[in-house]
């Protein structure tokens, strides 16, 4: 019996081990290391063990401090004094039993451990510093107010100022004396509803006016920042992708002849890679949209680029949600809808009171997927706008990528990623809780 038990255990291990080993190496280990790195200032450039030491430093600070001679000998195997005799260099190739081989990860870790015991480490543990910095020093991350000055000291005085700029951005910031001075120079033109610069101002007056305008004419603008854009993108994407998906599903859920062809058409963008989708649309935005809308710049404008990203994202994703809603609609018993029809329920009433409540399970799934996918969306934004212009379309995910690979702040980037992970868990967890409760209520 015990023999049988052992063979069962053996087979269990045989079946599970391949998946578990790979999963452990390429997911669990990096994930745990990621959490560790998020508490350090690792920059990814400095190697984990120093490549070389000054001779004096190595002999005094490392070998001198090591009590254990085994450890010192171990280090001497890998750090070899070079020909000039000034520097100890790490040899990554060592000779063992007559054969050359590269030093292993295990040996690297041992060296790291020994060096750490004498206080030498390229990675510093900095506690929660990374997490604090995300909110404290990262100016791009959180939404913030920015003051935009509307007049430059060195440019000519504007020949006219609009009523909005005058009354909202200039007058409230002036003292009474300055106000009467400005109002004597800029005269209100009733017909054009504009303030016009009076002719014949003296040089001194012009100079004073220029100073006042450059210092006092400003507007506080809210910069959405990375969090603001991510929230905007997520909310718009969730609403519009679900809405369009649902509308398409309802439209296709009849016995129309073109049903399958149309379904395939609407689903097609979903099988394309996001890179192809982004580039196709970038040409649409550059070649077609200017003629269609009269606005020349879409992807280069901080106001319109976020909208463009949402348009493309909804276009790409809605087919997917349509398919899920269609599958949900097909589970609705046809006689239920017909019974409502016989009872005289209008199209809208049938939709509102019969179909939508029964679609709730599909809705739960779609909401979960849209939320998670929008928060994780990378490829599309990266290829479409690269996070620009400025950082108008930088989502958290793009920001993490930039932190890690453009600024080499690996520890900091990983801290942000851990934060994102918590956000995703919280948001989707809350959503599942709420919609599941609603499902049970019905």
């Amino acid at each position: 019996m015990t023999g049988k038990k052992w063979s069962r255990v053996l087979y269990f291990i045989l079946f599970v081990l391949p998946a578990l080993a790979l999963y452990g190496t390429f997911f669990i280990k990096p994930f745990v290391e990621g959490i560790q790195y998020s508490f350090t200032d690792w920059n990814g450039v400095v190697p984990e063990i120093p490549l070389s030491f000054e001779r004096g430093q190595f002999e005094r600070d490392v070998l001198g401090k090591l009590r254990d001679t085994h450890k010192a000998d171990y280090l001497r195997r890998f750090y070899v004094l070079d020909e000039e005799g000034g520097v100890y260099r790490l040899t990554t190739w060592i000779e063992e039993r007559g054969r050359e081989r590269q030093i292993t990860q295990w040996e690297r870790n041992r060296i790291k451990g020994i060096l750490k015991s004498v206080g030498i480490s390229s990675i510093r543990f900095i506690g929660l510093e990374n997490f604090k910095n995300i909110f404290r020093t990262d100016l791009r991350f959180l939404p913030r107010k920015e003051r935009v000055y509307l007049h430059n000291e060195f440019s000519d005085l504007p020949s006219s100022i609009g009523t909005r700029e005058m009354r909202r951005d200039l007058i409230p910031h002036l003292s009474n004396e300055e106000r009467s001075f400005v109002e004597s120079c800029y005269v209100f033109d009733e017909a054009a509803r504009i303030y016009r610069l009076r002719a014949g101002l003296e040089a001194g007056e012009r100079e004073r006016l220029g100073r006042i305008l450059s210092a006092k004419m400003y507007r506080d603008r809210l910069i959405p920042g990375v969090v603001g854009f991510t929230a905007f993108f997520t909310v718009c994407n969730v609403i519009f992708a679900n809405l369009l998906g649902l509308v398409l599903a309802l439209a296709l859920d009849t016995r129309i002849r073109l049903r399958n062809v149309l379904r395939s058409c609407f689903f097609l963008p979903n099988v394309l890679s996001l890179i192809v989708v982004a580039f196709m649309w970038s040409f649409v935005f550059r070649l077609i949209f200017p003629k269609l809308t009269g606005i020349d710049i879409w992807l280069g404008s901080p106001e319109l680029a976020p909208v463009a990203v949402v348009i493309v994202s909804v276009w790409q994703a809605c087919g997917y949600y349509m398919v899920i809603y269609l599958a949900g609609l097909q589970t609705i018993p046809q006689d239920l809808v017909e019974a409502a029809e016989v009872d005289g329920a209008s199209w809208w009433q049938r939709l509102r009171h019969v179909k939508l409540p029964l679609l709730l399970p599909a809705f739960t799934i779609c909401l979960f997927l849209t939320l998670a996918n929008s928060l994780k969306c990378f490829d599309l934004i990266y290829a479409l706008t690269g996070g620009g212009p400025g950082y108008a379309t930088t989502s958290i995910v793009i920001d993490i990528y930039n932190n890690a690979y453009l600024q080499n702040q690996f520890g900091y980037a990983t801290a942000k990623a851990i934060l994102l992970c918590l956000i995703i868990m919280a948001v989707t967890g809350l959503q599942l809780f709420l919609t599941k409760r609603k499902e049970i209520e019905l």
Binding site: V16, F267, L268, L272, S273, I275, L326, A327, I365
Partner: protein, 288 residues
């Protein structure tokens, strides 16, 4: 149209009402078809302009091409090293998908059939990864892969298998639970080992889920961008596409031709398999 003739509550003539309804349906159909054409417009635009010259595109992007010249395609094909990257992507996708299916179906089978507490804990451990964004493991994963010398097309295969298996295990797990145990038990009594039991009895029963998992993973790996971008820059189809458009951003004709080239394998796959793909995806979403 229903067979029974009946009076509607408002007292209208039912025949007339059915007629208006049919007209409304036809109008709705036309409207929807029209919308589908607009919907696919970016695709048409790309296809249309891939045959033209750059000046023609800049003059009028909507004009039909005057001739069907494939010079743009020839140039994009050569510059992208299309056959090489296509082969790379094909090898990577097929090997990874096969690996995911084999490894996950085995693991899921053991996790269902051996009803120990360990099985449940391991199942939770696997499913946990589905909420973790890739960015959280991106940096250490790259460092590990570099240390292990996995920065090559074949080296990415185990990484894809590892990252793809949680979802696949989840789906296989759900399906295997509904497969009755009796056949396996009687096979075991006849002296079949659990390995043989799995490969000869259980695996053939899993075909529908294998199809779904295969479709989801093929589309995912084929279209994936960030992981290969970090590990093997420029060597898969999507990366070659990204680099190509980066270089020829202003040369619309070449960029459009390259987009058509990149999109064509997956579009062909879709055209032949659309029923399976759509069913597989909706099954995957509902069970995932």
């Amino acid at each position: 149209m229903r067979g029974i003739d009946r009076w509607t509550p408002s007292g209208e003539n039912p025949g007339r009402r059915a007629a208006t309804k049919r007209w409304a349906a036809v109008a709705g159909q036309m409207l929807l078809a029209f919308f589908a054409l607009i919907f696919l417009f970016p695709g048409f635009l790309t296809l249309l302009n891939s045959f033209k010259t750059n000046t023609e595109i800049k003059m009028n992007p909507l004009q039909l091409p005057t001739r069907l010249s494939i010079t743009n395609y020839v140039e994009a094909w050569r510059e992208m090293e299309f056959p090489v990257v296509l082969a790379n992507t094909f090898i990577l996708t097929s090997l990874s998908t096969l690996g995911i299916i084999l490894v996950s179906s085995m693991a899921a089978y053991a996790l269902v059939r051996y009803k120990w507490r360990t099985s449940w804990v391991l199942f939770l451990l696997f499913t946990f990864s589905m909420v973790v964004p890739f960015q959280a493991i991106m940096v250490p994963l790259f460092a590990n892969a570099k240390n292990m010398g996995l920065l090559s097309v074949l080296g990415l295969v185990p990484i894809y298998v590892a990252l793809g298996c949680p979802m696949a295990i989840f789906m296989f797990h759900g399906f295997i639970k509904s497969v009755p145990e009796e056949i396996e038990e009687s096979a075991a009594i006849d002296g079949a080992s659990p390995l043989r039991c799995f490969f000869q009895i259980v695996l053939p029963l899993l075909t529908p889920v294998i199809g779904t998992v295969a479709i989801l993973d093929v589309l995912w790996i084929w279209n994936d961008f960030l992981l290969p971008l970090l590990m093997i820059p420029g060597r898969t189809l999507q990366l070659a596409q990204y680099r190509f458009v980066g270089i020829y951003r202003q040369e619309y004709h070449l960029a459009m031709a390259s987009l058509v080239l990149t999109a064509s394998p997956v579009v062909l796959f879709y055209l032949f398999m659309q029923r399976y793909i759509i069913n597989g995806i909706s099954a995957g979403a509902i069970k995932g």
